[in-house]
Amino acid sequence: MDKIINIALPKGRLGDKVYDMFEAAGFPCPSIREPNRKLVFENEEIGIRYFWVKPSDVAIYVERGAADIGVAGKDILLEYKPDVYELTDLGLGKCRMCVAAPKGYVENTKRKLKVATKFSRIAQDYYSSIGKNIDIIHLNGSIEIAPLLGLSDVLVDIVETGTTLRENNLEVITEILPISARLISNKASYKFKTEQIKDITNKMSIQAGLRND
Protein backbone atom coordinates (compact mmCIF):
# COMPACT_ATOMS: atom_id res chain seq x y z
CA MET A 1 0.00 0.00 0.00
CA ASP A 2 1.61 3.27 -1.07
CA LYS A 3 -0.13 5.99 0.95
CA ILE A 4 -1.96 5.92 4.28
CA ILE A 5 -5.60 7.05 4.10
CA ASN A 6 -6.74 9.04 7.15
CA ILE A 7 -10.40 8.53 7.98
CA ALA A 8 -12.34 10.71 10.45
CA LEU A 9 -15.17 8.82 12.11
CA PRO A 10 -17.96 10.50 14.10
CA LYS A 11 -17.76 9.52 17.78
CA GLY A 12 -20.87 7.84 19.16
CA ARG A 13 -23.59 5.46 18.03
CA LEU A 14 -23.46 6.46 14.36
CA GLY A 15 -19.66 6.13 14.37
CA ASP A 16 -19.86 2.51 15.55
CA LYS A 17 -22.22 1.66 12.70
CA VAL A 18 -20.00 3.50 10.24
CA TYR A 19 -16.93 1.58 11.40
CA ASP A 20 -18.86 -1.72 11.05
CA MET A 21 -19.55 -0.72 7.46
CA PHE A 22 -15.87 0.06 6.77
CA GLU A 23 -14.93 -3.29 8.30
CA ALA A 24 -17.48 -5.15 6.19
CA ALA A 25 -16.21 -3.29 3.11
CA GLY A 26 -12.72 -4.73 3.69
CA PHE A 27 -11.04 -1.99 5.74
CA PRO A 28 -10.78 -3.50 9.23
CA CYS A 29 -8.67 -2.19 12.08
CA PRO A 30 -9.15 -4.70 14.95
CA SER A 31 -7.49 -2.49 17.60
CA ILE A 32 -10.45 -0.10 17.37
CA ARG A 33 -12.63 -2.71 19.13
CA GLU A 34 -10.33 -2.89 22.18
CA PRO A 35 -11.76 -1.13 25.21
CA ASN A 36 -9.53 1.91 25.74
CA ARG A 37 -9.54 5.67 25.36
CA LYS A 38 -7.26 5.84 22.33
CA LEU A 39 -8.42 8.15 19.55
CA VAL A 40 -6.20 7.03 16.67
CA PHE A 41 -6.08 3.49 15.25
CA GLU A 42 -3.96 2.26 12.39
CA ASN A 43 -3.88 -0.82 10.18
CA GLU A 44 -0.56 -0.46 8.39
CA GLU A 45 -1.12 -3.56 6.30
CA ILE A 46 -4.04 -2.05 4.39
CA GLY A 47 -2.85 1.55 4.76
CA ILE A 48 -5.76 2.87 6.82
CA ARG A 49 -5.75 5.16 9.88
CA TYR A 50 -9.03 5.84 11.71
CA PHE A 51 -9.64 8.51 14.28
CA TRP A 52 -12.68 9.48 16.34
CA VAL A 53 -13.78 13.11 16.39
CA LYS A 54 -16.92 14.98 17.43
CA PRO A 55 -19.53 14.37 14.68
CA SER A 56 -19.92 18.07 13.91
CA ASP A 57 -16.12 18.40 13.51
CA VAL A 58 -15.66 15.64 10.90
CA ALA A 59 -16.29 18.05 8.03
CA ILE A 60 -13.67 20.49 9.38
CA TYR A 61 -11.01 17.76 9.68
CA VAL A 62 -11.73 16.70 6.11
CA GLU A 63 -11.94 20.22 4.64
CA ARG A 64 -8.63 21.19 6.25
CA GLY A 65 -6.95 17.95 5.09
CA ALA A 66 -6.21 16.44 8.54
CA ALA A 67 -8.41 13.59 7.33
CA ASP A 68 -8.53 12.47 3.69
CA ILE A 69 -12.04 11.16 4.01
CA GLY A 70 -14.70 11.08 6.72
CA VAL A 71 -18.32 10.43 7.46
CA ALA A 72 -20.63 13.33 8.26
CA GLY A 73 -24.38 13.81 8.43
CA LYS A 74 -26.05 15.71 5.60
CA ASP A 75 -27.30 18.18 8.27
CA ILE A 76 -23.71 19.16 9.11
CA LEU A 77 -22.80 19.44 5.41
CA LEU A 78 -25.75 21.73 4.70
CA GLU A 79 -25.20 23.82 7.82
CA TYR A 80 -21.44 24.43 7.46
CA LYS A 81 -21.12 24.05 3.65
CA PRO A 82 -17.55 22.71 3.83
CA ASP A 83 -15.62 22.73 0.54
CA VAL A 84 -15.40 18.92 0.18
CA TYR A 85 -16.54 16.18 -2.20
CA GLU A 86 -19.62 14.25 -1.14
CA LEU A 87 -18.87 10.84 -2.60
CA THR A 88 -21.69 8.58 -1.50
CA ASP A 89 -24.79 8.32 0.65
CA LEU A 90 -24.16 5.59 3.25
CA GLY A 91 -27.85 5.39 4.16
CA LEU A 92 -26.94 5.25 7.89
CA GLY A 93 -28.34 7.49 10.62
CA LYS A 94 -31.47 8.23 8.63
CA CYS A 95 -33.67 10.99 10.03
CA ARG A 96 -35.52 14.13 8.89
CA MET A 97 -34.92 17.86 9.27
CA CYS A 98 -38.31 19.20 10.31
CA VAL A 99 -40.22 22.25 11.42
CA ALA A 100 -42.15 21.42 14.62
CA ALA A 101 -44.51 23.38 16.85
CA PRO A 102 -46.85 22.85 19.83
CA LYS A 103 -49.91 20.82 18.85
CA GLY A 104 -52.65 23.00 17.42
CA TYR A 105 -50.23 25.86 16.70
CA VAL A 106 -51.63 28.65 14.49
CA GLU A 107 -49.18 31.13 13.00
CA ASN A 108 -49.47 34.79 13.98
CA THR A 109 -48.94 36.48 10.60
CA LYS A 110 -48.87 39.99 12.09
CA ARG A 111 -45.26 39.65 13.21
CA LYS A 112 -42.05 37.86 12.20
CA LEU A 113 -41.99 34.13 12.83
CA LYS A 114 -39.58 33.22 15.65
CA VAL A 115 -37.64 30.03 14.86
CA ALA A 116 -35.43 28.26 17.42
CA THR A 117 -32.74 25.99 15.97
CA LYS A 118 -29.22 24.61 16.11
CA PHE A 119 -29.20 24.74 12.30
CA SER A 120 -29.46 28.47 11.56
CA ARG A 121 -28.34 28.22 7.95
CA ILE A 122 -30.65 25.35 7.04
CA ALA A 123 -33.59 27.16 8.69
CA GLN A 124 -32.70 30.44 6.96
CA ASP A 125 -32.31 28.72 3.56
CA TYR A 126 -35.61 26.90 3.95
CA TYR A 127 -37.61 29.99 4.92
CA SER A 128 -35.96 32.11 2.19
CA SER A 129 -36.92 29.43 -0.35
CA ILE A 130 -40.59 29.95 0.59
CA GLY A 131 -40.14 33.73 0.72
CA LYS A 132 -40.56 34.18 4.46
CA ASN A 133 -38.66 36.59 6.65
CA ILE A 134 -37.89 35.04 10.05
CA ASP A 135 -36.20 35.78 13.34
CA ILE A 136 -33.65 33.03 14.12
CA ILE A 137 -32.97 32.11 17.73
CA HIS A 138 -29.77 30.06 17.71
CA LEU A 139 -29.63 27.46 20.51
CA ASN A 140 -27.09 24.72 21.15
CA GLY A 141 -29.38 22.01 22.50
CA SER A 142 -32.80 21.17 24.03
CA ILE A 143 -34.44 23.01 21.15
CA GLU A 144 -37.80 21.40 21.99
CA ILE A 145 -38.17 23.57 25.08
CA ALA A 146 -38.04 26.87 23.17
CA PRO A 147 -41.64 26.92 21.82
CA LEU A 148 -42.94 25.48 25.09
CA LEU A 149 -41.55 28.43 27.06
CA GLY A 150 -42.58 30.98 24.46
CA LEU A 151 -38.99 31.68 23.40
CA SER A 152 -39.94 30.82 19.81
CA ASP A 153 -43.04 30.00 17.75
CA VAL A 154 -41.58 26.94 16.04
CA LEU A 155 -38.35 24.94 15.98
CA VAL A 156 -36.23 23.47 13.22
CA ASP A 157 -34.41 20.31 14.24
CA ILE A 158 -33.59 16.72 13.41
CA VAL A 159 -36.40 14.26 14.06
CA GLU A 160 -35.52 10.59 14.28
CA THR A 161 -38.49 8.75 15.84
CA GLY A 162 -40.53 11.73 16.98
CA THR A 163 -40.75 10.46 20.59
CA THR A 164 -39.25 13.61 22.19
CA LEU A 165 -41.69 15.75 20.22
CA ARG A 166 -44.70 13.65 21.19
CA GLU A 167 -43.74 13.54 24.86
CA ASN A 168 -43.51 17.33 24.88
CA ASN A 169 -46.80 17.88 23.12
CA LEU A 170 -45.12 19.02 19.91
CA GLU A 171 -45.72 17.87 16.34
CA VAL A 172 -43.99 18.06 12.96
CA ILE A 173 -45.52 20.75 10.71
CA THR A 174 -43.23 20.42 7.70
CA GLU A 175 -40.48 18.06 6.66
CA ILE A 176 -37.64 20.12 5.16
CA LEU A 177 -35.41 17.30 3.94
CA PRO A 178 -34.25 13.76 4.68
CA ILE A 179 -30.86 13.36 6.41
CA SER A 180 -28.36 10.50 6.32
CA ALA A 181 -24.61 9.95 6.72
CA ARG A 182 -22.40 10.79 3.73
CA LEU A 183 -18.86 9.77 2.83
CA ILE A 184 -16.89 12.95 2.19
CA SER A 185 -13.39 13.59 0.87
CA ASN A 186 -10.87 16.42 1.00
CA LYS A 187 -10.57 17.86 -2.52
CA ALA A 188 -6.75 17.88 -2.57
CA SER A 189 -6.48 14.36 -1.10
CA TYR A 190 -8.75 13.12 -3.89
CA LYS A 191 -6.14 14.30 -6.41
CA PHE A 192 -3.20 12.47 -4.84
CA LYS A 193 -4.90 9.35 -3.43
CA THR A 194 -7.44 8.96 -6.24
CA GLU A 195 -7.34 5.20 -6.67
CA GLN A 196 -7.55 4.43 -2.96
CA ILE A 197 -10.39 6.89 -2.34
CA LYS A 198 -12.31 5.62 -5.39
CA ASP A 199 -11.83 2.04 -4.17
CA ILE A 200 -13.15 2.88 -0.69
CA THR A 201 -16.10 4.80 -2.20
CA ASN A 202 -17.07 1.91 -4.46
CA LYS A 203 -16.85 -0.68 -1.70
CA MET A 204 -18.78 1.52 0.75
CA SER A 205 -21.47 2.19 -1.89
CA ILE A 206 -21.86 -1.58 -2.28
CA GLN A 207 -22.25 -1.96 1.50
CA ALA A 208 -24.81 0.86 1.59
CA GLY A 209 -26.69 -0.86 -1.25
CA LEU A 210 -26.68 -4.18 0.65
CA ARG A 211 -28.13 -2.48 3.73
CA ASN A 212 -30.93 -0.89 1.73
CA ASP A 213 -31.89 -4.15 0.00
Partner: protein, 310 residues
Protein backbone atom coordinates in the same frame (compact mmCIF):
# COMPACT_ATOMS: atom_id res chain seq x y z
CA UNK B 1 27.05 43.60 1.67
CA UNK B 2 26.49 41.14 -1.16
CA UNK B 3 22.98 39.86 -1.78
CA UNK B 4 22.70 36.24 -0.77
CA UNK B 5 19.81 34.21 -2.28
CA UNK B 6 19.67 32.07 0.86
CA UNK B 7 18.65 35.10 2.90
CA UNK B 8 15.20 34.82 1.29
CA UNK B 9 12.55 32.70 2.94
CA UNK B 10 10.72 30.05 0.93
CA UNK B 11 7.74 32.15 -0.08
CA UNK B 12 10.03 35.00 -1.21
CA UNK B 13 12.06 32.53 -3.25
CA UNK B 14 8.88 31.28 -4.85
CA UNK B 15 7.68 34.80 -5.68
CA UNK B 16 10.99 35.57 -7.44
CA UNK B 17 11.11 32.19 -9.18
CA UNK B 18 7.59 32.74 -10.51
CA UNK B 19 8.43 36.25 -11.62
CA UNK B 20 11.47 34.94 -13.51
CA UNK B 21 9.33 32.24 -15.11
CA UNK B 22 6.71 34.74 -16.30
CA UNK B 23 9.28 37.27 -17.53
CA UNK B 24 11.03 34.54 -19.53
CA UNK B 25 7.68 33.64 -21.10
CA UNK B 26 7.33 37.21 -22.36
CA UNK B 27 5.06 38.70 -19.68
CA UNK B 28 5.45 42.32 -18.58
CA UNK B 29 5.45 43.10 -14.88
CA UNK B 30 2.35 45.12 -13.98
CA UNK B 31 2.12 47.22 -10.83
CA UNK B 32 -1.07 48.61 -9.48
CA UNK B 33 -2.34 50.70 -6.64
CA UNK B 34 -3.37 49.04 -3.40
CA UNK B 35 -6.84 50.55 -3.75
CA UNK B 36 -9.53 51.15 -6.33
CA UNK B 37 -12.89 52.91 -6.41
CA UNK B 38 -15.41 50.82 -4.46
CA UNK B 39 -17.84 51.08 -7.40
CA UNK B 40 -15.75 48.65 -9.50
CA UNK B 41 -16.27 45.86 -6.97
CA UNK B 42 -19.93 46.57 -6.27
CA UNK B 43 -20.76 46.25 -9.96
CA UNK B 44 -18.91 42.94 -10.18
CA UNK B 45 -19.33 41.50 -6.72
CA UNK B 46 -20.38 38.09 -8.08
CA UNK B 47 -16.88 37.73 -9.47
CA UNK B 48 -15.26 38.20 -6.07
CA UNK B 49 -14.47 35.32 -3.74
CA UNK B 50 -16.09 37.20 -0.87
CA UNK B 51 -18.44 40.18 -0.81
CA UNK B 52 -16.69 41.69 2.21
CA UNK B 53 -14.42 44.55 1.22
CA UNK B 54 -12.39 47.02 3.32
CA UNK B 55 -13.48 50.54 2.39
CA UNK B 56 -12.56 54.09 3.33
CA UNK B 57 -13.48 57.58 2.13
CA UNK B 58 -10.94 59.51 0.07
CA UNK B 59 -10.32 63.23 0.69
CA UNK B 60 -12.61 64.06 -2.24
CA UNK B 61 -15.49 62.10 -0.71
CA UNK B 62 -15.20 59.08 -3.01
CA UNK B 63 -15.59 55.65 -1.48
CA UNK B 64 -12.40 53.65 -1.98
CA UNK B 65 -11.71 49.94 -1.40
CA UNK B 66 -8.56 48.00 -0.63
CA UNK B 67 -8.30 45.70 -3.62
CA UNK B 68 -9.88 42.27 -3.00
CA UNK B 69 -8.95 41.07 -6.48
CA UNK B 70 -6.33 41.76 -9.14
CA UNK B 71 -8.09 40.72 -12.36
CA UNK B 72 -10.81 43.40 -12.17
CA UNK B 73 -8.21 46.17 -11.73
CA UNK B 74 -6.15 44.91 -14.65
CA UNK B 75 -9.18 44.76 -16.94
CA UNK B 76 -10.38 48.21 -15.88
CA UNK B 77 -7.01 49.88 -16.24
CA UNK B 78 -6.10 48.48 -19.65
CA UNK B 79 -7.26 49.87 -22.99
CA UNK B 80 -9.55 47.51 -24.89
CA UNK B 81 -7.51 46.20 -27.85
CA UNK B 82 -9.22 42.99 -29.06
CA UNK B 83 -6.77 42.52 -31.98
CA UNK B 84 -3.62 42.50 -29.84
CA UNK B 85 -2.48 40.20 -27.06
CA UNK B 86 -1.26 41.82 -23.87
CA UNK B 87 0.64 39.54 -21.50
CA UNK B 88 0.93 40.86 -17.96
CA UNK B 89 2.25 39.37 -14.73
CA UNK B 90 2.02 40.62 -11.15
CA UNK B 91 2.90 40.08 -7.48
CA UNK B 92 0.29 41.87 -5.41
CA UNK B 93 -1.45 41.66 -2.09
CA UNK B 94 -5.21 41.36 -2.00
CA UNK B 95 -7.46 41.92 1.02
CA UNK B 96 -10.12 39.33 1.69
CA UNK B 97 -11.95 37.69 4.53
CA UNK B 98 -10.18 34.46 5.37
CA UNK B 99 -12.53 31.47 5.36
CA UNK B 100 -11.00 30.09 8.56
CA UNK B 101 -11.00 33.05 10.93
CA UNK B 102 -13.74 35.07 9.26
CA UNK B 103 -11.49 38.15 9.64
CA UNK B 104 -9.78 40.25 6.95
CA UNK B 105 -6.32 39.19 5.92
CA UNK B 106 -3.66 40.34 3.48
CA UNK B 107 -3.13 37.63 0.87
CA UNK B 108 -0.09 37.66 -1.40
CA UNK B 109 -0.72 36.51 -4.98
CA UNK B 110 1.44 36.07 -8.04
CA UNK B 111 -0.13 35.54 -11.40
CA UNK B 112 -0.56 36.31 -15.06
CA UNK B 113 -3.30 37.76 -17.26
CA UNK B 114 -3.52 37.58 -21.07
CA UNK B 115 -5.91 40.16 -22.46
CA UNK B 116 -6.93 40.81 -26.05
CA UNK B 117 -6.93 38.23 -28.81
CA UNK B 118 -6.96 34.90 -26.94
CA UNK B 119 -6.72 31.91 -29.30
CA UNK B 120 -6.21 28.18 -28.62
CA UNK B 121 -2.44 28.58 -28.64
CA UNK B 122 -2.66 31.33 -26.02
CA UNK B 123 -4.96 29.17 -23.83
CA UNK B 124 -2.53 26.25 -24.10
CA UNK B 125 0.41 28.54 -23.28
CA UNK B 126 -1.31 29.84 -20.14
CA UNK B 127 -2.17 26.28 -19.02
CA UNK B 128 1.41 25.26 -19.69
CA UNK B 129 2.66 28.20 -17.62
CA UNK B 130 0.31 27.16 -14.80
CA UNK B 131 1.88 23.69 -14.91
CA UNK B 132 5.39 25.16 -14.76
CA UNK B 133 4.34 27.38 -11.83
CA UNK B 134 3.15 24.31 -9.91
CA UNK B 135 6.40 22.51 -10.73
CA UNK B 136 8.27 25.31 -8.96
CA UNK B 137 6.13 24.85 -5.86
CA UNK B 138 6.25 21.07 -5.48
CA UNK B 139 7.44 17.83 -7.01
CA UNK B 140 4.10 16.11 -7.05
CA UNK B 141 1.30 18.29 -8.36
CA UNK B 142 -1.98 18.15 -10.26
CA UNK B 143 -3.68 20.70 -12.49
CA UNK B 144 -7.36 19.97 -12.79
CA UNK B 145 -8.90 21.30 -15.94
CA UNK B 146 -12.48 21.74 -17.05
CA UNK B 147 -14.07 23.08 -20.20
CA UNK B 148 -17.16 24.80 -18.83
CA UNK B 149 -19.07 24.99 -22.13
CA UNK B 150 -19.62 21.22 -22.11
CA UNK B 151 -21.10 21.19 -18.60
CA UNK B 152 -22.99 24.49 -18.91
CA UNK B 153 -24.71 23.46 -22.16
CA UNK B 154 -25.66 20.04 -20.74
CA UNK B 155 -27.16 21.67 -17.63
CA UNK B 156 -29.01 24.26 -19.76
CA UNK B 157 -30.59 21.45 -21.76
CA UNK B 158 -31.50 19.58 -18.57
CA UNK B 159 -33.85 22.25 -17.24
CA UNK B 160 -35.10 25.82 -17.77
CA UNK B 161 -35.54 26.31 -14.05
CA UNK B 162 -32.77 28.52 -12.62
CA UNK B 163 -33.13 27.14 -9.08
CA UNK B 164 -32.77 23.58 -10.31
CA UNK B 165 -29.76 24.48 -12.46
CA UNK B 166 -28.10 26.07 -9.42
CA UNK B 167 -28.73 22.92 -7.41
CA UNK B 168 -27.30 20.79 -10.21
CA UNK B 169 -24.12 22.90 -10.35
CA UNK B 170 -23.79 22.48 -6.56
CA UNK B 171 -24.07 18.68 -6.78
CA UNK B 172 -21.62 18.49 -9.69
CA UNK B 173 -19.06 20.52 -7.73
CA UNK B 174 -19.38 18.05 -4.82
CA UNK B 175 -19.16 15.02 -7.17
CA UNK B 176 -22.47 14.18 -5.53
CA UNK B 177 -24.12 11.85 -8.05
CA UNK B 178 -26.46 10.27 -5.47
CA UNK B 179 -28.33 13.52 -4.74
CA UNK B 180 -28.16 14.49 -8.43
CA UNK B 181 -29.88 11.23 -9.30
CA UNK B 182 -32.59 11.91 -6.69
CA UNK B 183 -33.10 15.44 -8.04
CA UNK B 184 -33.52 14.06 -11.56
CA UNK B 185 -35.95 11.43 -10.29
CA UNK B 186 -38.10 13.93 -8.38
CA UNK B 187 -38.37 16.62 -11.07
CA UNK B 188 -39.55 16.67 -14.68
CA UNK B 189 -36.07 17.15 -16.19
CA UNK B 190 -34.65 16.10 -19.55
CA UNK B 191 -33.68 12.52 -18.78
CA UNK B 192 -31.01 12.25 -21.47
CA UNK B 193 -29.11 15.28 -20.18
CA UNK B 194 -29.57 14.19 -16.54
CA UNK B 195 -27.66 11.03 -17.40
CA UNK B 196 -25.03 13.01 -19.33
CA UNK B 197 -24.45 15.38 -16.41
CA UNK B 198 -24.12 12.40 -14.05
CA UNK B 199 -21.52 10.90 -16.39
CA UNK B 200 -19.65 14.23 -16.63
CA UNK B 201 -19.60 14.45 -12.82
CA UNK B 202 -17.97 11.02 -12.65
CA UNK B 203 -15.22 11.82 -15.13
CA UNK B 204 -11.81 12.22 -13.54
CA UNK B 205 -8.43 11.36 -14.99
CA UNK B 206 -5.63 12.31 -17.35
CA UNK B 207 -6.72 13.40 -20.86
CA UNK B 208 -5.43 10.10 -22.21
CA UNK B 209 -7.63 8.18 -19.77
CA UNK B 210 -10.86 10.13 -20.10
CA UNK B 211 -11.04 11.64 -23.60
CA UNK B 212 -12.49 8.50 -25.29
CA UNK B 213 -15.33 8.34 -22.74
CA UNK B 214 -15.85 12.10 -23.00
CA UNK B 215 -16.10 11.84 -26.79
CA UNK B 216 -18.96 9.35 -26.42
CA UNK B 217 -20.76 11.65 -23.97
CA UNK B 218 -20.33 14.66 -26.28
CA UNK B 219 -21.45 12.68 -29.35
CA UNK B 220 -24.57 11.64 -27.48
CA UNK B 221 -25.29 15.16 -26.27
CA UNK B 222 -24.66 16.95 -29.59
CA UNK B 223 -21.65 18.69 -28.07
CA UNK B 224 -19.12 17.85 -30.79
CA UNK B 225 -18.09 21.46 -31.33
CA UNK B 226 -17.28 21.82 -27.64
CA UNK B 227 -15.41 18.49 -27.62
CA UNK B 228 -13.34 19.60 -30.61
CA UNK B 229 -12.38 22.83 -28.87
CA UNK B 230 -11.19 20.94 -25.76
CA UNK B 231 -9.34 18.44 -27.92
CA UNK B 232 -7.71 21.23 -29.92
CA UNK B 233 -6.24 22.88 -26.80
CA UNK B 234 -5.19 19.52 -25.31
CA UNK B 235 -3.43 18.60 -28.57
CA UNK B 236 -1.30 21.75 -28.17
CA UNK B 237 -0.32 20.55 -24.69
CA UNK B 238 0.67 17.10 -25.89
CA UNK B 239 4.38 16.53 -25.37
CA UNK B 240 4.46 19.09 -22.55
CA UNK B 241 6.87 17.95 -19.82
CA UNK B 242 4.06 18.03 -17.25
CA UNK B 243 1.25 16.71 -19.43
CA UNK B 244 0.60 13.81 -17.05
CA UNK B 245 -0.22 16.21 -14.22
CA UNK B 246 -3.40 17.35 -16.02
CA UNK B 247 -6.68 15.89 -14.78
CA UNK B 248 -9.92 16.49 -16.63
CA UNK B 249 -12.54 17.21 -13.96
CA UNK B 250 -15.96 18.73 -14.63
CA UNK B 251 -16.66 19.19 -10.93
CA UNK B 252 -14.66 22.39 -11.24
CA UNK B 253 -17.56 24.82 -11.50
CA UNK B 254 -16.37 27.93 -9.67
CA UNK B 255 -18.20 31.05 -10.66
CA UNK B 256 -19.89 29.64 -13.74
CA UNK B 257 -21.47 33.08 -14.36
CA UNK B 258 -18.19 34.84 -14.96
CA UNK B 259 -15.81 32.23 -16.16
CA UNK B 260 -16.36 30.52 -19.48
CA UNK B 261 -14.46 28.01 -21.56
CA UNK B 262 -11.38 26.68 -19.81
CA UNK B 263 -11.00 26.89 -16.04
CA UNK B 264 -8.37 25.20 -13.88
CA UNK B 265 -7.09 24.73 -10.35
CA UNK B 266 -3.68 23.56 -9.16
CA UNK B 267 -2.87 21.33 -6.19
CA UNK B 268 0.51 20.43 -4.68
CA UNK B 269 0.87 17.26 -2.62
CA UNK B 270 0.92 18.02 1.09
CA UNK B 271 -1.21 21.18 0.81
CA UNK B 272 -4.86 20.54 1.71
CA UNK B 273 -6.24 23.37 -0.45
CA UNK B 274 -5.74 24.55 -4.03
CA UNK B 275 -2.66 26.69 -4.62
CA UNK B 276 -3.48 28.01 -8.09
CA UNK B 277 -6.71 29.05 -9.72
CA UNK B 278 -7.56 30.52 -13.09
CA UNK B 279 -9.51 30.45 -16.30
CA UNK B 280 -11.08 32.35 -19.18
CA UNK B 281 -13.27 35.33 -18.28
CA UNK B 282 -14.77 36.61 -21.53
CA UNK B 283 -18.19 37.06 -19.91
CA UNK B 284 -16.64 39.36 -17.31
CA UNK B 285 -15.02 41.39 -20.12
CA UNK B 286 -18.39 41.81 -21.87
CA UNK B 287 -19.96 42.89 -18.60
CA UNK B 288 -17.24 45.53 -18.28
CA UNK B 289 -18.00 46.66 -21.86
CA UNK B 290 -14.76 45.33 -23.38
CA UNK B 291 -14.52 43.37 -26.61
CA UNK B 292 -11.24 41.70 -25.66
CA UNK B 293 -11.03 38.14 -24.37
CA UNK B 294 -9.16 37.24 -21.23
CA UNK B 295 -7.46 34.33 -19.48
CA UNK B 296 -5.23 34.24 -16.44
CA UNK B 297 -4.42 32.61 -13.13
CA UNK B 298 -3.16 33.41 -9.67
CA UNK B 299 -0.83 31.43 -7.41
CA UNK B 300 -1.82 31.57 -3.72
CA UNK B 301 1.58 32.03 -2.12
CA UNK B 302 0.06 31.89 1.37
CA UNK B 303 -1.16 28.30 0.89
CA UNK B 304 2.40 27.28 0.03
CA UNK B 305 3.96 28.57 3.26
CA UNK B 306 4.81 25.08 4.52
CA UNK B 307 6.46 23.99 1.27
CA UNK B 308 10.24 24.06 0.88
CA UNK B 309 11.37 25.67 -2.35
CA UNK B 310 14.48 24.20 -3.96
Amino acid sequence: MLFDYNMLDDSEKLIYALRALYRQAGYTQYHMSKFEEYDLYVRNKDFLVSENIITFTDTNGKLIALKPDVTLSIIKNNIDEPDRLKKLCYNENVYRVSSGSGCFSEIPQSGVECIGCVDDQCIADVISLALSSLALAGQNFVLELSFLDILAKSIDRMSDDKTIRKQVVGYVSEKNTHDLEKLCGNNPLNDKYCKLVEKLTDIYGTPREVMPALKEICDEGGLNKEYQKLESVLSLLRGNKYEDAIRIDFSLTDNINYYNGFIFKGFVEGVPDHVLSGGQYDSLMRRMNKDSSGIGFAVYIENLEDITIE
